[in-house]
Symmetry: C2
Subunit: 333 residues, 2 copies
């Protein structure tokens, strides 16, 4: 089909070993020979076959990254960070999307394992880590991304989501709010559950402050709008004076439906609002939204660093937890 190293060697009048040397250690070859070989390569349009190389050298020079949702800015930023760090180590990152489906995650895991990637970064779906454990047992280095220290078996890099939830809650309390709704559900997503838990713990420590959890079906804009409609009357009546939305999409949807209704609610006068993730739309909203920021880029970079350590030394399992940071904007002050 395509040109092989053998044909290049013939065209340049050298052996295959020499062509290989030109490609991989040019300074071990006489300059004139290098030139001759390069000319043949160009003339024939030779492109090395990565599969053959990988088969021989045993490494693929790439790592896999499985995220829950490519459309989520959080993960694309993590991916960007990972890519930058991997570039420096001459590794390429293969980005794949599980779409929060266990089946797709399994399929991707298998695909990457067959591909013999040098390591794997995974933001796992749900709590089913058995498949991952099996992969690790076969000797493939795996680092968990955006997934916390509860799984001591795995090296991981995560953000302290419970702390983030607490930060948001405490900020609302410090602003004098007395009755706070936590909006956004889906206990099956670990990160979200942690945020809610953190808020609830903070509530224990704040006597006289009421907290209630309002579940939503998903985590989208639309879910936020629907929650907003349900909440509006209770805000007007003074029953609720603050909302902590477990992600920014919900916060934005909520804000839109509160501001856009027939009898609008004022933010932050009638109700204070805090979101989570600090996506770019949060700061650009009509009333800019206070949010909890995660060091996305840093998460990606650190994940790759941990993976490199792990490839170097399979026992080097570290767990890194980043601190979230509250970014205060107009929606809560």
């Amino acid at each position: 089909m395509s040109v092989s190293i053998r044909e290049v060697a013939a065209a340049a009048g050298v052996s295959v070993g020499t062509v290989s040397n030109v490609l991989n250690r040019p300074d071990a070859v006489r300059p004139e020979t290098v030139a001759k070989v390069r000319a043949a390569i160009r003339q024939l349009g030779y492109v090395p076959n990565a599969a053959a190389r990988q088969l021989r050298v045993g490494r693929s020079g790439s790592i896999g990254l499985i995220v829950l949702d490519v459309a989520n800015p959080f993960f694309t930023d993590v991916a960007r960070g990972a890519e930058r760090e991997a570039d420096a180590a001459h590794l390429s990152v293969m980005l794949a999307n599980s779409g929060e489906s266990v089946e797709r995650e399994d399929a991707l895991l298998q695909q990457f394992e067959r591909q013999r990637v040098d390591g794997l970064l995974v933001s796992p779906v749900g709590e089913h880590l058995d498949r991952l454990r099996a992969v690790v047992k076969r000797g493939l280095p795996v680092v968990l991304v955006d997934r916390g220290a509860d799984n001591q078996a795995f090296p991981s890099v995560a953000v302290d989501d419970a702390r983030g939830g607490a930060l948001a809650f405490e900020h609302l309390v410090a602003g004098g709010r007395k009755s706070i709704a936590v909006v956004g559900g889906q206990a099956r997503i670990h990160q979200i559950a942690e945020r809610v838990r953190g808020a609830q713990q903070a509530a224990f420590a704040a006597p006289g402050v009421g907290i209630q959890h309002i579940a939503t079906e998903g985590l989208s804009l639309e879910d936020g709008r629907m929650a907003g409609e349900a909440l509006a009357p209770r805000i007007r009546s003074g029953e609720i004076d603050a909302v902590f939305a477990v992600n920014d999409l919900i916060a934005i949807g909520l804000e839109q439906s509160l501001l856009g209704g027939t009898s609008p609610v004022s933010i932050p006068r009638d109700v204070a609002l805090v979101g989570y993730d600090d996506i770019s739309f949060a700061s650009a909203a009509v009333v800019p939204i206070t949010s909890v920021r995660q060091p996305r880029d840093e998460i990606g970079r650190t994940a790759v660093k941990l993976l490199l350590e792990l490839i170097e030394d399979p026992k080097a399992a570290r767990q890194v937890v980043f601190e979230p940071e509250l970014v205060v904007r107009a929606s809560s002050s």
Copy 2:
């Protein structure tokens, strides 16, 4: 390092050929033998080596998809469509991001070519198609995505952006608007330039209607906000009564700054607004935004179909152009 088919064969007491048959055509093997081999596979934790397989069979079973921006919902939807269609043909899609950088695009092109992907879907950066032409000449099937018929050399699937621009403009004219600003710049991005051109052509056909082009630095929310601030006084004075934003991010930013200012402008009373792309945020804005929709999913699916045709028959170069569709919402009526 890892378990090979040879060791599986030894453990099961059969030949390597038989193990291979169990994996690839199980019905050519006696059921008891299949069971024996499967047991050995499970017990040893054997995972086939994709590189070795690929080397032997010549095909990789995967196609590459290079997009301009993974963070852009348009491309993630296209990718999803491509993935679905590829799944049906038992191909896997490797998603990669050029980030609108020519250098990254080149690097990815090379990587995919070395990987011997069975085909390539590319949304090319700028007008530099020479590298791509070289790739095609070496026999790799390539389909252009979101890039029009101006490059007859390539099979492609695109949306008629000029038509989309005209649709938006004509809609504003039909609504009685007389002085229309086209907001959003960057002639170097082909698709954007086409939208502007389409609007300008429509303006020729509409005597008595004024058009002006207002460039922006980028295509982000922030660029839209800045444009909004600059435009607000000219809208209040009646100098401008409609805006066509070349993408939804700009439209949303514009709307936010117009609605949120100290002396707000009413949409659509003072100014009608049309965006482009119909991203989910457009319909969810405070005043839902009229926008031009592209059949994103369909684009991805069709691109893969064209690619499959091209793999089948290298001369089967087709060019598909989809019609954009105007979605009318409150911002313009």
